[in-house]
């Protein structure tokens, strides 16, 4: 084994050198392939991460919209359509549940934005959620009715309270939920940019390896021609000349491997024939 390695590096074995050349080409392929796979894995992971983040934002926004609409429906039933206590009881419960749901979801959305370093996106959302929940709480606790029956808000009805006080807050919060949606998507921008970078990193090694491979193959062809084909052709030609015209066999050969050995043996054979 050691002798074979020594033969390769002292340029004595054409077989070993060709094998080594092929092995290095294969090694390059494997290495660049592995690197590309690693980068592709990262692309896949990053893409998954981005999609997951996007989905989480969408889910949070959907939950908030659902809770807000439930609350709004309940408020319409209670304040605008009205009815006896038995009729509005389910809406009352729904209203209480939606307040909690909305608060929790808004808080989760805010925590997520804090986590990714953009808390300003949900600052207003938190404010408007608190305000609308406060309004709803005041309504279901009877504060609004008490105020209407007292002198302070004597000029308005529950219906007009809904239109003038609740509806604008509802619209504002809807806008904030939309803002959260677009804002959280825009925070994914750097990740998307990094994704394109990683994608390029996955492709470039293969491209460069291909270029290197072409160069190595060209060199390989050149060396094989120079050190294998050309000497064999010369030996063949010279041997032909010797057999035909008895002209002297070519003694000049510049290599140390099996071709040289073949050349030397032919020379010994010719010497014996003489």
């Amino acid at each position: 084994m050691l002798k074979r390695v020594v033969d390769i590096f002292t340029l004595k074995s054409i077989k070993g050198r060709v094998q080594l050349a092929f092995a290095s080409i294969i090694l390059l392929l494997v290495f660049s392939g592995a690197l590309s796979l690693f980068e592709l894995e990262r692309v896949s992971h990053d893409t998954e991460e981005i999609l997951l983040q996007s989905k989480m934002s969408t889910d949070l926004a959907r939950e908030m919209v659902t809770a807000l609409n439930e609350q709004n429906d309940a408020m319409i039933e209670m304040a605008v359509i009205g009815g006896n206590i038995v009729d509005i009881a389910p809406y009352y419960k729904g209203c209480v549940a939606s307040i909690e749901h909305l608060s929790n979801t808004a808080l989760r959305a805010h925590e997520r934005m804090v986590e990714i370093g953009s808390p300003e996106i949900t600052d207003s959302l938190m404010l408007y959620t608190a305000r609308i929940n406060d309004l709803t709480n005041r309504y279901i606790n009877g504060d609004v009715h008490r105020a209407i029956f007292s002198d302070s808000l004597a000029h308005i009805t529950p219906h007009s309270w809904y239109v003038e006080c609740y509806k604008p807050e509802y619209v504002n919060l809807s806008k904030q939920i939309t803002k959260f949606m677009t804002g959280s998507e825009s925070t994914l921008g750097p990740d998307v940019n990094s994704l394109s970078l990683t994608a390029r990193r996955a492709v470039t090694p293969v491209f460069l390896s291909l270029v290197v491979m072409i160069v190595v193959t060209l060199m390989f062809y050149y060396f094989i021609y120079h050190y294998l084909i050309k000497p064999v052709m010369r030996i063949n030609h010279s041997l032909g000349e010797y057999l035909r015209y008895r002209s002297p066999f070519d003694k000049d050969i510049a290599c140390r491997d099996e071709i040289k050995s073949l050349h030397d043996r032919i020379m010994i054979l010719i010497a014996k024939l003489k």
Partner: protein, 481 residues
């Protein structure tokens, strides 16, 4: 010409380049496997494979012919620049194909021009590779490969003759082995000393190593967007000025000084001229800056002026201030520094003080001959008579330099640059300085130039680094056989 022999020796140079890529990957590893680790590792592997492949087939030779020597040197620069792109290309970011080529050529030719808008965004491994390319380029890819790789036998001397500036070659009286050893000893020693000095004057180890490498390579690559201005420290600037100045002096003269030989720094006419030139220009610029109220006091003006003059004269190109805001006189003097640059036999590029001295003496002697037609007047430098052929070579070089500068300016202006940007870009690339004026001032970069001009810049850098004639030889490659 034996192509296989040329390929073998270029392969040896590539091994050396691959080694530095591996070291950069190591730096990347030390920085928690930053994003440059895998690009550097793969690049190192590919470069090593390209380099080692010819060694499987081609035997070492005892003698290299002149033409082969030229082909090896020029080929090594070109191939090193090509493989030097690999880490940048694989890493991505701002590095498109042309940008990676520009950065690589700029590093290996020690020009120090950049296309990067945000240098600090680069991972440390890649920053180290950037500085390494400049350091390798500083002493010459081939030169290093010859010293480190011990299997070249008699062929060493031939390559050193080709690689070194033609004037520098004449000054080297030492045997070839000694030349290689002294070059490496001085270069490595200077880099180590500069690193330690920079570290203890306020830089981190990483910044100190990088700046020492690019100062000694007279390249000017920095790890900060604001270059040396980031530290705003007179001590750091002073240390770098010393390192840059020493790197721009003939290494043989430095060796003679260290070993107490006769032809030392203090007796060298060229070094004397170089130092005096820098001093005088610094003072004139400082006075003009104070007079124009750019700086309020002379001390501050002198600090910035001397740093910029040393930085430009040594072809480094570090910056402490935006020289675009300086007076026209200061700008013209800095352009003059960009043309003349350092001494032959150093890591600096440009026309060289040696040539300026010989040319001025030739002109003076011609004028004397006009007055006294029968007089026999010899051109001497450092007490040695300069032969007619040397004088002709110097004058031809100067004419070629001027012609190339003008052609470069025409090309730059043809593609939309203003005349100041075009002219200074042409000079700065040909002299391997880096910054110029206008759009490519000391605080800006080459990123906004169109692709054609980036290519033109890299061509000029290569021509300049190979002392014009080394590159021109390539055009006549067909007649070599």
């Amino acid at each position: 010409m034996r192509v296989h022999v040329v390929i073998r020796y270029i392969g040896m140079v590539l091994q050396f380049v691959a080694l530095f890529m591996l070291v950069s990957a190591g730096v990347s590893m030390l920085n928690n496997y930053d994003s440059a680790f895998s690009p550097l590792l793969l690049s190192s592997f590919m470069t090593s494979l390209l380099g080692i492949f010819p060694m499987f087939f081609v035997e070492k030779v005892d003698e290299i012919k002149t033409k082969e020597g030229y082909a090896i040197v020029v080929g090594s620069w070109l191939v090193a620049c090509i493989v030097g792109m690999f880490p940048y290309l694989i890493w991505g970011g701002e590095f498109t194909m042309i940008n990676a080529w520009f950065e690589s050529v700029s590093g290996f030719t020690t020009t120090g021009a950049s296309i990067l808008n945000d240098i600090e965004f680069l991972p440390r491994g890649l920053l180290f590779w950037r500085s390494s390319s400049a350091w390798i380029g500083g002493i010459g890819v081939v030169m290093f490969a010859l010293v480190i790789l011990p299997s070249m036998g008699k062929s060493r001397h031939m390559l050193s003759n080709v690689e070194m500036s033609t004037i520098a070659r004449d000054n080297f009286h030492y045997r070839s082995k000694v030349i290689f050893r002294l070059l490496v000893t001085i270069y490595v020693g200077l880099t180590i000393i500069t690193t330690i000095a920079l570290k203890y004057s306020g830089m981190t180890w990483f910044d100190a190593v990088n700046h020492a490498m690019t100062s000694c390579g007279t390249c000017g690559f920095s790890t900060k967007n604001n270059s040396v201005a980031f530290w705003d420290s007179g001590l750091i600037e002073g240390i770098m000025m010393v390192a840059m100045t020493l790197s721009a002096i003939h290494f043989g003269v430095l060796y003679a000084t260290l070993t107490g030989k006769r032809n030392n720094i203090f007796r060298s006419e060229v070094v004397r001229t170089f130092i005096i030139m820098m001093l005088v220009i610094s003072v004139i610029i400082a006075i003009s800056l104070v007079a124009a109220d750019v700086y309020s006091n002379f001390g501050e003006a002198m600090r910035h002026a001397s740093f910029q003059v040393v930085s430009i004269s040594t072809t480094s190109g570090f910056a402490t201030t935006d020289t675009n805001l300086w007076t026209p006189l200061a700008m013209v003097l800095l352009i003059f520094c960009s043309v003349i640059c350092g001494c032959a036999g150093s890591t600096s590029g440009g026309m060289k003080v040696d040539r300026l001295l010989i040319a001025s003496k030739v002109i003076r002697n011609r004028m004397k001959i006009q007055l006294h037609p029968n007089a026999v007047i010899r051109t001497k430098m450092g007490g040695m008579v300069q032969e007619e052929s040397t004088q002709n070579l110097v004058m031809t070089f100067i004419v070629s330099y001027i012609m190339l500068t003008l052609i470069g300016t025409v090309v730059y202006t043809m593609f939309g640059c203003d005349i100041l940007t075009g002219f200074t870009a042409s000079i700065s690339c040909l002299s391997n300085v880096g910054p110029g004026f206008g759009e490519i001032g000391s605080m800006s970069n080459f990123s906004q130039l169109p692709v054609v001009l980036k290519l033109c810049s890299t061509l000029l850098m290569l021509i300049g680094r190979l002392e014009i004639f080394g590159f021109i030889q390539l055009l006549f490659i067909r007649s070599w056989r």
